[in-house]
Amino acid sequence: MGRTVINDQIMVHVTINGESRHALAEPRTLLAYFIRDNLGLTGTHVGCDTTSCGVCTVLLDGVPVKSCTVLAVQADGHDIETVEGLGHNGQLHPLQQAFWDNHGLQCGFCTPGMLMTTTALLRNSVDLTEHEVRRAISGNLCRCTGYVNIVKAVLEAKRRMGEETRKV
């Protein structure tokens, strides 16, 4: 199958935030740890580690998944987006800016996961209601109970991004 295996480790090739990267990983290595430890991108957090909290959410081929519940080897040959890929040239992504403006966080630990889940939501929806935002983030826990401002931020980001599209 053309896999490189060295000392029981498998070479995993991914495109992460548009960049091609590879590293060796044991089959049991979870994607969240591969991203943090092997690729050095520590924006993706690990929270509950039991598929509950969603702070480790990344986009796998554009689809938000809990990266503590995917094996790194499963991501071989696939496309990953993490929170590091949102901003460009020191500029915040409109969604990040909206989180900033609306204080869509308290401690900030859940923020990367919230941003990745809602990034996919914004891409895939034409209009967005508060209910839809709340449903979409129902797999992302914020233990500071700060959902109100997060929802506000996502709705505002949608509005702003819509305006930008109309200008173009």
Binding site: M1, D8, I10, E26, P27, R28, T29, L30, Y33, D49, T50, T51, S52, G54, T57, V63, P64, V65, K66, C68, T69, V70, L71, V73, Q74, D76, T117, R135, A136, S138, G139, N140
Partner: protein
């Protein structure tokens, strides 16, 4: 929290999978969506020495239709049904929205859920109500097992070590007018497993007579259960509030819950009663609305 070490295989062909199963059988686990398997491996509740990742088999990711049967490939993810409402099987859409949370639904599969055989899983109850069958294959044979004969015990199915689930078949009611369904779930928090889950689906003729009825129950037995007696009470009768109440109490009797941290046996049984009544009543209202509109 890492799983124990294992050998990982990602076969590109069905033959390769069956070869591996033939060779390693008992030692293997099949990785489909992984949303139950990987957490269990991380908690070291299971520690397979061989993991066979079947996600490379793209032909199992399809929904096809033939001869009044909907065939759902083993790798079709839960989220598919969250966005698709097939009016001939509305229960799929009704149920999908209640499974875990959106992130888990993006990854988890129907085939994986059935093979895992958690008594609290939502698909188990829904697909029992839909009288689905499971397509099972090994290197030597393929067989079709009615879901009502598939679950043996908690986390145990009729699957042999060399076999795997390749898909699910659901009968379609082509000739009938109205199909209504509800999935009702009591959960302690969003995304949790059911404390009690009830799936109801009905086919009604223009006079409101029940042509076909399915009632599946989650988390109130060692396996997902079909309320067979309750279903038979509906068959061939016009749906009335009295009948619905009778059927609901029958379904509660057929349930077999145990007292645990999530609730007492009595409480869960009472919830089955409430949910079956609520579900059937809602379907009845759907039908009445439809008749008003078309009248």
């Amino acid at each position: 929290m890492f799983p124990n070490s294992f050998e990982y295989y990602a076969p590109r062909s069905v033959e390769e999978i069956f070869g591996l199963l033939e060779q390693y059988g008992d030692e293997t686990k099949i990785l489909a969506g992984g949303q139950s398997l990987l957490p269990m491996m991380k908690l070291r509740l299971v520690a397979p020495s061989i993991l066979i990742d079947i996600n490379g088999i793209s032909s199992w990711d399809n929904v096809t239709e033939q001869a009044h049967l909907l065939h759902i490939g083993a790798l079709v993810r839960h989220r598919k049904w969250e966005y698709v409402l097939d009016s001939r099987v509305p229960l799929l859409h009704q149920t999908a929205r209640h499974i875990a949370d959106p992130l888990v639904r993006n990854r988890g599969t129907m085939g994986g859920s059935l093979a895992h055989a958690d008594p609290a899983a939502d698909w188990g109850a829904a697909l029992l109500a839909l009288k689905a069958s499971v397509s099972i294959q090994s290197a030597h044979r393929s067989r079709e097992v009615p879901l009502r004969e598939f679950f043996v015990d908690t986390f145990t199915t009729v699957l042999e070590p060399q076999e795997l689930v390749t898909g699910i078949r659901i009968p379609l009611h082509y000739d009938s007018g109205f199909v209504g369904a509800r999935y009702l779930k009591l959960e302690r928090k969003v995304g949790d497993f059911a404390v009690v889950g009830v799936a109801v689906t009905l086919v009604l003729d223009p006079h409101g007579v029940v042509l076909d009825a399915g009632i599946g129950l989650a988390a109130v037995g060692a396996t997902p259960l079909a309320a067979v007696k309750a279903e038979s009470l509906l068959q061939g009768h016009p749906l009335t509030p009295e009948l619905i109440r009778h059927v609901a109490s029958e379904a509660a009797k057929e349930s077999d819950p145990v007292t645990d941290r999530r609730g007492s046996e009595e409480y869960k049984r009472a919830m089955v009663n409430v949910f079956v009544e609520r579900g059937l009543t809602a379907v009845h209202h759907d039908w009445q609305r439809l008749m008003d509109v078309s009248a």
